[in-house]
């Protein structure tokens, strides 16, 4: 490669890194200035000891975990059956999974409120509606991660091999298919986790405690704490990504080599 090309590559890469990291660095530095005259973690201390944080953060974690469970139960069998029995429906299903990218969350939440605030479907106060909403919002990430995992294994042949050995559908799904797409499920799960932790509109308009509305509230009332909460949120997402890398790295060879 020519020297000039290498220099340009480095230039654009450094520019990209600065574009993404400078605001984050600025936010981090700003979050350390809560105490006059010196840098410190006072803002972080304030966030962690705030009762609203102690309510909203665990609530969001619970919503995220429930969303992941519902997503796995819903999307794994769907993606599996589409690959196995309805390959002609794949394009349609993929299009449906993209709907959350097209319909704004605010439109979606008003649709939910309008539909489920009248009998016989009066469930607008139920946390189930919030989890269902999060499941839809995380669908593009969860479904596609699972579908990519299924693409990496020979679903049809593995299913038929298991059937010929006497396995029923439950056994095939839980003992043959799921273990072989574990990394993909994990990847979809962490992406869903990140989505739920950062999602504002649904929780705000369905009036449920959540981390994103808490940050929004902080922004309205405090100076340094919102920056600290943002950094906490980023750290959490990066930790999730790190776990995907660590867990995923060890599994890839095993799955890829198996067929």
């Amino acid at each position: 490669m020519k020297r000039g090309t290498i220099l340009w590559s480095w230039f654009w890469m450094i520019l990209g890194i600065l574009y993404f990291f400078l605001p984050l660095l600025a936010t981090f530095i700003f979050s350390l200035k809560a105490e006059l005259g010196h840098f410190g973690f006072k803002a972080y201390e304030n966030v962690f000891t705030d009762p609203k944080f102690q309510t909203s953060f665990p609530a969001s974690v619970i919503w995220a975990v429930l969303t992941i469970i519902v997503g796995i139960l819903l999307f794994v069998p769907t993606a599996y059956l589409v690959r196995l029995r309805l390959p002609q429906a794949r394009a349609t299903i993929e299009l449906i999974t993209l709907v959350p990218f097209v319909v704004p969350a605010i439109v979606y939440v008003f649709g939910l409120v309008g539909t489920y605030s009248h009998p016989p479907l009066l469930i607008v106060d139920s946390p189930a509606l919030l989890v269902a909403g999060y499941t839809v919002l995380s669908m593009p990430y969860m479904y596609r991660a699972i579908d990519t995992g299924l693409r990496a294994i020979d679903v049809r042949t593995l299913t038929e091999a298991a059937q010929s050995l006497g396995a029923n559908w439950g056994t095939i799904l839980f003992r043959v298919i799921l273990p072989n797409i574990r990394v993909s499920i994990l990847s979809g799960a962490f992406l869903s986790f990140a989505i739920v932790m950062g999602e504002y509109t649904l929780a705000q308009y369905l009036a449920k405690p959540a981390f994103a509305p808490y940050i929004a509230l902080l922004i309205q009332n405090k100076a340094y704490e919102p920056a600290a909460a943002t950094i906490i949120s980023f750290a959490l997402i990066w930790a999730c990504m790190g776990i995907i890398q660590v867990v995923g790295g060890g599994e890839q060879g095993q799955v890829a080599g198996g067929h």
Binding site: D154, Q163, G166, V176, A256, H259
Partner: protein, 355 residues
């Protein structure tokens, strides 16, 4: 009564028949090969026996029981796939024990059976390895052991050797046949490789466009093909047009050169009929016995070395034929363009269908 019986089996996909009116009785312990080109319906037939496809019409009976509509996991049929289909998340031991665990057999019995199977395929040193740590041949042996571990009523092999290299393919097919004979298990083997089918089978079913062309032992299929398709598909074949001269004595003429045939089909022909004759390349030899039935003049057109065999292209009249002879270092081959006499027995001249 046949152990496995396929009666009037048909399978239709959309408007096309993949298999049509297929009838076959298989005895217990028999090794049957389905042989044919891609799309001939051999794999579809196998999949109907496995339960992965339900026949559009017809019945499948196994050991006196109708299994036509039984789910695949209720049939006790072992299957080996071209792509091995080992479970990537399980070791060799776990893969082989999978079917036994599904059947909830006692742990001690599973352990014993798995050990027995691992010994059978000589992979004792690889018992704790994952599929990706094994070669293709080793993976297919594990697949065989996994299918046999459940003591299946029938073993189905769907082109199990196609993905392997030539040497492994030959050694593994011998191993499969030896194990099948030792266990006395009924097996159906799908292949498009005629050499594989000829070398491994008790009987071969040659299929074409969803239909059964011929069923017979490898010897019958190769030496007495009943149709032009079988004759062409199994082994190499010379085809030529000829005219019936004397049907009672089996005399026919090809470009004025007279040939004699022993084919019973001649009884159905009349003098002057145009027919198509077929002669296997190895049935020709250089004439050293002048009193043989068909001794004819030829010109040597080309000579090709194929390892153990030398293929010589000759022209008899205006028609070109291939002639195969075994190679040996002292073979005295004629020069290209030389005039020679070649011969073939009257039994070697097959009359298959009208020209």
């Amino acid at each position: 009564m046949a152990y496995l019986s396929l009666s009037s089996i048909s399978k239709q996909f959309a408007n096309a028949y993949a298999v049509q009116d297929f009838n076959l009785d298989i005895d217990k312990g028999e090794f049957i090969s389905f042989l044919g080109p891609s799309g001939c319906g051999k794999t579809t037939t196998l999949r109907m026996v496995a339960g992965f496809e339900i026949p559009t019409s017809g019945t499948i009976n196994l050991d006196g029981k109708d299994i036509t509509n039984k789910a695949p996991n209720q049939r006790n049929v072992g299957m080996i796939f071209q792509a091995y289909a080992l479970f990537p998340n399980m070791t060799v031991t776990q893969n082989i024990g999978f079917g036994l665990r599904i059947r909830k057999e006692p742990e001690a019995a599973i352990k014993e059976r798995v050990q027995e199977m691992i010994s059978l395929i000589h992979l004792e040193k690889h018992a704790d390895k994952y599929p990706y740590q094994l070669s293709g041949g080793q993976q297919q042996r594990v697949s065989l052991a996994r299918a046999l571990a459940i003591r299946p009523d029938v073993l189905l092999l769907d082109e199990p050797l196609s993905a392997l290299d030539a040497k492994i393919r030959i050694s593994l097919r011998a191993e499969i046949r030896a194990i099948q004979k030792r266990l006395g298990i009924t097996a159906i083997f799908v292949t498009h490789d005629q050499e594989e089918a000829l070398s491994i089978s008790d009987r071969i079913v040659v299929m074409n466009e969803g239909n059964m062309e011929q069923v017979g032992t490898p010897f019958e299929i190769y030496n007495f093909p009943k149709t032009q398709f079988v004759a062409n598909f199994v082994g190499s074949l010379n085809n030529a047009e000829a005219e019936v001269v004397d049907p009672a004595n089996g005399i026919l003429s090809m470009d004025g050169v007279h040939f004699k045939t022993a084919d019973a089909e001649m009884a159905n022909r009349s003098k002057g009929d145009k027919i198509r004759i077929s002669i296997r390349p190895e049935r020709f030899s250089f004439a050293v016995e002048p009193l043989k039935d068909n001794v004819v003049d030829c010109i040597i057109e080309n000579i090709t070395f194929l390892g153990s065999v030398v293929r010589i292209q000759i022209s008899i009249g205006k028609t070109k034929f291939n002639m195969d002879t075994f190679n040996n270092p002292f073979l005295d081959l004629p020069a290209i363009g030389a005039k020679e006499k070649v011969m073939c027995s009257k039994e070697a001249v097959l009359v298959l269908e009208s020209a």
